[in-house]
Subunit: 377 residues, 2 copies
């Protein structure tokens, strides 16, 4: 039996594990601690550090195919393993490009794929100098080249009053885009070259709080826009030559341009609804793809929405769920908690999928979830 | 957090585990060997014998709620634990009735629930005596009072030529029923008394081989028959006062009578399609019910069929799947292998669910599965 190893044992690994139990594959995970989301439930779990060369090399000896559920893994080990003939998905070169947002952006430019303009800068002083020199102007977005996630490593600078938000790290600077909608597509490719993509997802914002309220799929956009997003995502996964998943985030601007924002070569928040809304989830398709099996159908039966469940502000400590009964009473609402032993303010603790035949009904259910379901300590 | 313990670590436990990962409950399993279906994947697994009093008592100390995935557990331990105040689902008295088919049949009679006539006999000699005395006559069905499953412990005796099939064990004898269809319903009740039931399922037989080809849901029977089956199942789970699942198998005879055949107080083969065809699967509902949580919707989106995957005749040894690729290529066909390390002829190795909008399309997919997918060694 082919042995698969996953670097990372967080929620994405947990859902890969859950979704492929029926395929009876041999899947193991590497992460720091048995008490992380995968280790708490899965038998085949190795404690170790996926950013450490030796730990990755040792773990890889147990498996035939190595994949990831987080980008921040030890690249040197992956390049060396690839040289030794181990199957690595996504390929280390793609991962290296994606790990550095400046190189990632340059990749889009080189391949004539649409993305906003940008310049690469060294640090905070360099940004201030560029402002003085007029090579960038307000408002702009500064992004750390490495290690950003979930909005961390990104600063929106509207004027001098925002200078204390500037990141003092290698970065790129982009002009602010006049965003009509934020969209995302997950593409999937196996080694033999089959490619599929999921329906386009839209981020729905709370107009008052300016925070993402929920994700909705299929996105309510013109068919031509949806097709363009999917075809870009499918082209990109081919250009990167990735086996596995590639999640692509887009801006649709107010002039109707579709711009690639950034990508992730793994299961992604924007595909969590596929657990319940699609015939084959992103997690199952990731494993099918890296094992070079036929890909599953990405078709959606129903409209699907996804709400992230974040740790409640003001609570830190052992996780307690409040209001789960209210959620379990609702029809076609599916709870996916990640088994994190400790909650912290705004930590991603789980998500809830809501299916339905009309958007109004789905939004009513989301309002109930927002009101009753909390993660406290 | 409430701790749940399950006696048994076979495929039914494996699917309970898989289906409730998102609820982040604390679920542990007891079975002989780590290499059984649950132990191979789940972290929280204890090696021990669920038919052994001491093993069950020790395991129970770790949990608040104790349930089963197999009937054949140590009843003395369950009665003692119940006395000590442990929550036991199903309750030991119901389990005791169900473990013995003679007492089970008497229970239906006592509650005026429809079932075929029967007499209780001691052994093979007693059956032959009853034949001589004319209190039973050909053709009849002899059933062992205890430990029968998957057709084992049942003999159909059409005449003297079948006498070598007679079981020499405490048994009951029923007249053969003129069966129009074999149907099944799974009911679910939680401790607070909410009751739901799934759509009626029908066993579809191969007319030549006279073997079950697949299970189909919702059964193609008159609405009145379906309603009657569901209402009997819901009444039965209440009469047994079971929290959890009760699977009820029925005969619909050629005169339109609905007769209870037998029951199982746990997830059941006739509910395996609910993993993919119902909003909330039987496995998730079993765990919700024993944890006294609100029950999930039993609604089906689409027609669903289920094919058991049995070990191929002539093969015994380490499990090898043949033809999985052909199955993965089909849309809305879902593979559920049980992770059994060793295959044997006719051993239940997994099942495959097939969803669709029309029965013809589903039957075409089943023909492909039958042709290509095999479990060999």
């Amino acid at each position: 039996m082919i042995k698969i190893g996953i670097l990372g044992g967080g929620q994405l690994g947990r859902m890969m594990f859950q979704e492929t139990i029926g395929l009876d594959l041999d899947i193991q995970f590497l992460d720091d601690n048995r008490h992380f989301p995968v280790g708490r439930i899965a038998h085949q779990f190795t404690e170790g550090d996926f950013t450490n060369y030796d730990d990755v090399m040792a773990f890889a000896q147990k498996v035939d195919i190595l994949s990831i559920e987080i980008e921040k893994v030890n690249l040197d080990a992956l390049f060396e393993l690839e040289k030794q003939g181990k199957k690595i998905h996504p390929n280390p070169r793609a991962l290296e490009i994606i790990q550095d947002k400046a190189i990632q952006k340059q990749f889009y430019k080189d391949h004539h794929l649409p993305t906003s303009d940008f310049i690469v800068l060294k640090d905070k002083a360099d940004v201030l100098e560029a402002l003085d020199a007029g090579s960038i102007s307000y408002p702009f977005v500064q992004k750390a080249r490495k290690d950003g996630y979930d909005g961390k490593g990104v600063a929106v600078i509207r004027g001098q009053m925002d200078h204390d938000k500037l990141l003092d790290t290698p970065c790129l600077v982009e002009p602010c885009v006049d965003i009509e909608k934020e969209l995302a597509v997950i593409a999937c490719k196996n080694e033999r070259g089959d490619i599929v993509s999921y329906e386009v997802v839209e981020m729905v914002f709370d107009p008052e709080a300016n925070l993402v309220k929920y994700l909705f799929s299929p996105a309510e956009v013109k068919v031509a826009y949806a097709q363009k997003c999917r075809s870009i995502a499918e082209e990109l996964i081919q250009k990167f030559d990735i086996s596995g998943l590639l999640a692509v985030e887009f801006f649709l601007d107010t002039s109707g341009n579709i711009l690639i924002n950034e990508v992730a070569p793994r299961p992604h928040n924007s595909g969590h609804h596929t657990l319940d809304a699609a015939i084959c989830s992103q997690f199952e398709n990731h494993i099918r793809a890296i094992a070079n099996l036929p890909l599953g159908s990405t078709k959606q039966y129903k409209m699907g929405a996804m709400v992230n469940v974040l740790g409640e502000d003001g609570f830190q400590g052992y996780t307690i769920y409040i209001g789960m009964e209210d959620i379990l009473k609702m029809e076609d609402v599916h709870i996916h908690m990640y088994g994190k032993a400790i909650t912290k303010p705004k930590r991603k603790m789980g998500h809830i999928n809501i299916l339905g035949d009309n958007r109004k009904e789905i939004e009513e259910k989301i309002a109930i979830i927002d009101q009753y379901f909390k993660v406290i300590a």
